[in-house]
Symmetry: C2
Subunit: 385 residues, 2 copies
């Protein structure tokens, strides 16, 4: 594994906010937390994870967790195994926002034990987002038969905006989000490369014939949607089967999008945000041929992770959308009416923890990964009787 | 004029919030106020108004302002005339939330000098919302030929939830919002009376033939939409010609609705709010045959006043929706994409003033009425060069 400047990688995660002391388990709020619709308690599932990025639930209740620093971990019978799983690819690069990113079970995991993961690959001078699949061994100690299925092109020397979120459409194809790589902002409008897009692939790595740009020689055939900045949330709606995403704006302009194949989501030609230094990205917030977001934030929460909730533990939350916030340090709940976001509530905004991932567990509870050098997996569970 | 318990009326306006010292002109923020999209300055147009409720702009720049305590005032050449206009109806009742409410110019004001206004009428034991029209005399000192065009039925002994907002559809008909009168909550689902509805009338007081319930003997023919709690914001979208409204929920559940004639907006069968005492209004937030809001607030700002902005002074705000907040003490801006609310921002939330009305002036500036015994008219104007 190529492992450059881990300390710099850690501090880069905080570059947009004031440095704060690491969050610790004792900072987790105790007792019943009241919210508008459901009350809950916060339980610490695991701590001591180094920048946990993504959570996947194994049949039977165990969990896989990625650490951005390049390790795949397992929480086994409720206990974090100190030993990482073997088999993470050698070309993994830990650099700024990149490292080991998403972990997702194949839709047919029960029969094929395949998992999918995304990671930053290459060198600090030339890196990209890679998508790989592997077989999880029976003991859950190693990835076997690791195969890289897709590499985003071109390489970037920046180490920013890797995207990396994975989900599966009802037809069994896979979506992978990719960032604009930080440097090549205008490349998000260039259909000839993968920067600033979401790509759609068959699970054998081939490109679906019905992708929107299949057969065109002026566009990459993998592209599903384009004009994205850095998609850090991707989830297929459990009822409609339509993929939703969210992405980071520059300063302001984080947005939620509902994805239609082939459409252009506008970055950097239209945006509700401005540059971090206060300069203008674009004077346009809307333009013909570019999609408006379903929601945008004027003050960026730095959204991360996304889950539709349809569990049984919190009936009041069924049908709602949950999104984490890094700089904004909270969980954001949206009430939905079809594909409209019609109300919003902040949860755990006093906890003071950066939220990297939000997942609805098979037990009906909501799981969070906190973005910290001493990161945690938290569970929002029903209050004890 | 029947004028009961003015001091009680004043304190009743604060019943849902902690009592605060009256806001004063020196509390208005000085200098350039920065916001996400536009910067502005706040200018005090007038002060010393007793609970100003509504603003109307006369040709030439003068303004009419209602005071809930039963007076119609004029700001003439930028100066508040100490003498109220004569001609307010004798049956006006100042009681709790009721008094003189909306003032609106007839769409043909330039040729007919007609104004429309709403007020609480009757006695503390039996009161209702009345709609009247009158001719504004040339000197702007009196209402003449005052005629009551509509009275909501039945009377209520409560003095709450009078509605009272007025606007005009592109076809020249008039919409008037009515509350559920506080006591008869379930009556908002009863089409046979006017409680909890918005009604539509011709400007001669007759009922349009194309109203949704015209000709039905089980419904009041004036009804345009129903199932409302207390509509305190009503504005016709300048581009689509469709009426939008907002209404107060109980504790939580304030909502924005986009009005379709004949439809049921659900109160009190569905609501995102609960009672002030924490008890449940309804377990349902959605039901077949009842409309979902375009937006709802889990924590009620107590929304009041509503304006679509299409002026020239703030190009960044063009197409946006502005809503005032009483208990929430701020101005709420929504970014719109067609009929979707896709982003929101709070303005003047540090000012600490209850906002009763929000209007876009013909000069392109935004005007506010503060809800206070020493109330003000404020203007959000472009910063001085």
């Amino acid at each position: 594994m190529t492992h450059f400047k881990p300390l710099l990688a850690a501090s880069a995660a905080c570059f947009a906010i004031a440095l704060t002391a690491p969050a610790a388990a004792q900072d987790v709020p105790q007792g019943v937390q009241e919210s508008e619709q459901a009350n809950f308690e916060v339980h610490v599932v695991a701590e001591g994870l180094e920048f946990p990025w993504s959570i996947a639930f194994l049949p039977g209740g165990d969990m896989l967790v990625t650490e951005r620093e390049g390790r795949l971990r397992v929480i086994r019978g409720g206990v974090l195994d100190p030993e990482p799983l073997a088999g993470v690819p050698d070309d993994l690069l830990v650099e700024r926002q990149g490292g080991l990113m998403e972990i997702a079970l194949d839709p047919d995991f029960a029969s094929n034990r395949m998992v999918w993961f995304s990671y930053a690959a290459g060198t600090p001078q030339a890196n990209h987002t890679a998508l790989a699949r592997a077989r999880l061994n029976a003991a859950v100690t190693a990835l076997e038969d690791v195969e890289v299925v897709f590499r985003a092109r071109p390489d970037s020397p920046r180490g920013f905006h890797f995207g990396g979120k994975i989900d599966f459409l009802p037809d069994g194809t896979l979506l992978l989000s990719l960032g604009d790589a930080g440097l090549f902002r205008d490349e998000a409008q260039n259909l000839r490369n993968h920067l600033g897009t979401i790509v759609r692939l068959h699970r054998d790595g081939s490109v679906p014939d019905d992708n929107p740009f299949t057969g065109r020689d002026d566009a990459a055939a993998e592209i599903y949607t384009w004009g994205h900045r850095n998609v850090q949330g991707l989830a297929v709606h459990p009822e409609t089967g339509v993929a939703w995403s969210h992405e980071h704006g520059p300063r302001g302009g984080d947005e939620v999008n509902i994805l239609t194949p082939g459409l252009n989501y506008g970055w950097p030609v239209i945006s509700y945000g401005i540059n971090y230094d206060g300069s203008i990205v674009t004077e346009h917030t809307a333009m013909e041929g570019m999609e408006q977001p379903a929601w945008y934030w004027g003050v960026s929460p730095a959204v991360s992770g996304m889950a539709f909730y349809d569990g049984d533990a919190f009936p009041e939350w069924r049908g709602d959308l949950f999104i984490g916030a890094l700089a904004g340090m909270r969980v954001i709940r949206f009430e939905l009416d079809g594909d409209r976001l019609i109300g919003t509530e902040d949860l755990l905004s006093d906890m003071g923890m950066r939220i990297r991932d939000v997942r609805a567990g098979p037990d009906g509870f909501l799981y969070l990964a906190t973005d910290d050098i001493d990161g945690m997996i938290l569970r929002l569970q029903s209050p004890a009787e």
